[in-house]
Structure formats: C-alpha cells, structure tokens
Amino acid sequence: MDKLVRRNWIGLALGLAASALVQAGVVSVNLPGETAMLKPGPGLEVAQANCLICHSVDYIYMQPPLTEAQWRGVVMKMKKVMGAPIPDGDVDSVVRYLVWQNGRKE
C-alpha cells in the first residue's frame, strides 16, 4: 500500500471517529448546521418566513442572476408544486427580495 492510500485510510478512520457513530451496525451522523444567512434587504423578514422552511439559503445565492419573471416562476413553483405555504399576499414581496438579492434586467 503506498503512502497516499495509507494516508487516506487514516483520514477516513479519523473522519468516522469524529462524525459518524457506528455501533452494532447502527450508523448515526450529525450533519453540520447551516452557516449561510439571507442578506439584508427589503423584504428580508418575508423571505425568511417563507423561503427557509424547506431549504437553506444557498439555493438562492447559487442561482445565476435571474429576471423578475424567472424569480416569480421559481416562487410560484415553490408555492404551487413544492407545497411551500406562501400566502398570496407575500408572493410579490418575496419576488422583490430575490430580485434585489440576485436579479438581473430582462
């Protein structure tokens, strides 16, 4: 076994000890907490209340900058297809926040 393979095995063993408990066949892991947060902007509270129920904020910031129509499409998909309980009256505010955060002109 060469040096690199051995190093990886040791790394794997340490990684398991630190984070995954294997006992009598049971595997338990502790997933790291979320660190990224929504950035300040108009509509932040509405976005926090509606967007973060189902997913972390990186879903928003990893997107390419989207147009208002595209962000509206995303919000309506979350509401109508993915079951997000976004009140009708909050949709415009959420869309405005998302465009302000990561939007582009048409």
Binding site: M1, V5, S19, V29, G33, E34, Q63, P64, A84
Partner: protein
C-alpha cells in the same frame, strides 16, 4: 478496514511527479468571502467554480473528506474535480451527495430497516438488509453514478437549478442483489407496467411531492440493476444512501434511489412530479431545444451520453515544456463501453488516439492517457473526445435545454507550457 474484497486501489498510480504536474491554483481558488455567509464565517475556505455565482464553501461532512458545499439543507455536496485523477474509482468519502428533500434520516439501524415490495405482486415482501444478503445471489458491477444536473452551471444561457460544476458524478464498485431476483420472488402480476422506488427521506411539508422514481419493467428487470448494500467494498456512506440504494448502471443517478425502503409494482406509467414534469428531456434525439421554445415534447431522462475529461490539468493550468508530458483523464458512457478516446493539443484541429487504461466494465469510468511534448512559452488548447462501442461520440457544440441536462460537449482546457 475490509481487506477481503478486491477493491481497486485508489490512487495506486499516484506519485510525486504525478501530483506536481497538475496546476491546482485554478481549480482550488483562494480564500475569500462568500456571499450569504455571516461575518463570523468570512474566512470560510472556498472554491470558485467557473460560473457566475460559482463561489462555494469547502466543508467536511460525516464520512466525507473536504467537499464542495452546494446546499446545506437538503444537503448537496460536489466532488472537487482533482479527485477524479486518483484513479478509475471514486472513493466513498469523496463521492458527491444529492438529496431532494430536507428530511434525511441521520440514524439508520440496518437490523430494523425494511424494504417493502408491494403493489402488483403475488406476494408482498418485507426484507431486512440481512435477508436481502442471505436470500439472493450477490452481484458486483462497476458503474458511474452521475447526477442528471451534472455540469448545469456551465450551460449558456444559464438555467436555474442545482448549479453543479463537473463534480456531480462518481464511479464505484457496487455490490448488491438483483432487483429482478427480488421481484421474481414476489411474483409479478400480469398487469405490471412499472416499478416505483421510494426512499426513507421525507418532505418538509405535507404538500411537498415525496421523491419517488419509476422504471419500466424492461429496465427494472435488467441483469445489472441492483439493490446495492456495498460501495467499493464498504457499506454505503449514510449520505450516499445507507443501507441500500438502487443502482441503475448506464442511467442517470435520479433513478438510483437512496435509503431505498419501498418498491411498488404499478399497473401504469407513473406520473408523479419527479417523473413528470421534473427530470425530463426534449424527446428529439439531441435532447436540445432553443431558449424560449414552447410546446416541446419531453420524455423522462434516461441513459447517459458519452463524456470524457482531463483529470490532471485544469483550464488555465500550466505544464512543463521541453519534456514529454502525460495527460490523463477519464471517459464513460451510458453502458455501451468506451471504444476510444481522442486527444488534441490544438483545440480539436487534429486528434491523436489516447491509450486506454484497464477495462472495469462497460458502465465504469475508463482511464486514458496521452503523451506530448509541449514547447516552453506556448499556449495549448487541449481537448478530449470519447467514442463508445456503437460509435456515439461527444458533441462539438454544447446542447441546450431548460433543465440543464445531458451536457456532453468536448471539453477544452487552455494551458500554458513553461
């Protein structure tokens, strides 16, 4: 460590000069501030994928080495591309992670975990992992697991979705039992049409569609479709679907349902959200459409197109001039097997045949290598193009579709000889 399995040695060819050849700065990025990360985390280690908003944090999750964080909840982790230079098989701790629903169980007791087989069968079954292992023949297959959205972030124009680079893929030696054997034990009813697969992950809201995938019987009954309980000779990492996941060699990973606990034989074609409208491609042979085009007929995504990559150089990298250099890479397709890989040092103007590495089977990564002597001070545009055994090759121009699926353009790498 499990020593009684013939696990292909990872990194068996690695040595100092091999690593030294790779110019890593472009691939690894530099320290910086990631949008959306609070001030206290400003020194998080990050990489920048080659796309707008491509800055990602590097994180270490349970049973995983340092990987690229795409999303934290549900968790999605990308394999840093230099990992693919370690050999034909992707280590379990480096294998990419993609969950659809936030409710991923974090503790699994395999002695209690049961797989239901039900629906249009003569006798419903409920099997523990131990029962799977003891009641059915075990089979091993080397197969590439590639996310449908792999490389989505490289689409132009960009499309919304999981913005992966090229690292949402991996190759492993899977061991498990044939789905066919399990279905035959249950006995199919005459009106069986498809088999639906559900895992133990749960949706955050009652109205969220549960993640369920379906295969036609003709696919589900295939020789190499497995209920896999081992990956590269070890149990699956929890985040890769411990204790059992479906393995559908040649097909995109969307069908490789993780923490598989429910197999339902149904008398019709499934049209749940994750089969329609999600995970569909234009029905034409190209799987292409024009941005904005409406009324496109679609089919469920299925077999993977042929792809190849260089693994020991990255775009923007440097290599040593004046001496013969080895360029290495990997190639794979949807199960016909790689027949040849062509290599170019002039952006595809001329091609030479690369040497293929060991054949681990038609669903596996196939390593390849080519040698050339760069002249110091000159730039080169390297490119590779794989051809499979039925003559399919990679596209010379990228296809486009609104979900960002099926990228298989010939990849090019601008490098500079010093």
């Amino acid at each position: 460590m499990d020593t009684n399995r013939s696990v292909p040695a990872r990194g068996h060819r690695l040595n100092a000069s091999r690593r030294g050849f790779m110019q890593k700065s472009a691939a690894l990025g530099s320290l910086g501030i990631l949008g959306g990360i609070p001030a206290g985390q400003a020194l998080a280690k990050v990489v920048t994928l080659p796309m707008e908003n491509g800055t990602r944090e590097l994180v270490t999750y349970p049973e995983k080495r340092e990987l690229i964080l795409m999303t934290a909840r549900p968790v999605q982790l990308e394999t840093p591309f230099e990992v693919f230079d370690e050999g034909a098989f992707t280590a379990n701790d480096a294998f990419f992670v993609r969950w659809h629903l936030a409710g991923v169980p974090t503790s699994i007791d395999p002695s209690q975990f049961k797989i239901q087989v039900r629906g249009r069968v003569r006798q419903a079954l409920s099997l523990t992992v131990a029962e799977l292992q003891s009641q059915f023949d075990s089979v091993e297959v080397a197969a590439v697991c590639q996310c449908s959205g792999n490389s989505r972030g490289l689409f132009n124009p960009r499309v919304p979705g999981g913005e992966w680079g090229n690292g949402a893929m991996g190759n492993a030696l899977w061991r498990g039992v044939r789905l066919r054997d399990v279905l035959q034990k249950a006995g199919l009813e005459i009106d069986a049409v498809q088999v639906r697969f559900n895992g133990a992950d749960t949706a955050p809201m009652p109205a969220t569609p549960d993640f369920i995938k379906a295969l036609d019987l003709s696919v589900a009954m295939g020789d190499e479709v497995l209920l896999a309980y081992a990956m590269n000779g070890k149990p699956l990492p929890l985040l890769n679907g411990f204790p059992v996941r479906l393995v559908v060699p040649g097909w995109f990973a969307t069908y490789w349902v993780k923490m598989l606990d429910d197999i339902e034989v149904i008398p019709k074609v499934d049209e749940n959200f994750w089969m329609k409208p999600a995970y569909r491609i234009p029905a034409d042979p190209c799987a292409c459409q024009v941005p904005g085009q409406q009324g496109v007929v679609t089919v469920p995504i299925h077999r993977m197109p042929v792809r190849s990559f260089i693994t020991n150089l990255s775009d923007g990298g440097k290599l040593k001039g004046g001496h013969a250099q080895t360029v290495r890479g990997i190639a794979f397709d949807g199960g016909y097997g790689i027949a040849q890989v062509l290599f170019s040092t002039d952006g595809g103007g001329s091609w030479m045949r690369a040497e293929l590495g060991p054949d681990h089977g038609r669903y596996s990564f196939r390593e390849w290598s080519a040698r050339f002597t760069p002249r110091p001070g000159r730039p080169y545009t390297l490119a590779c193009m794989a051809v499979n055994t039925i003559g399919e090759s990679q596209r010379l121009t990228p296809r486009w579709n609104p979900s960002g699926y099926m990228r298989n353009v010939v990849e090019t790498y601008r490098v500079h000889a010093v």
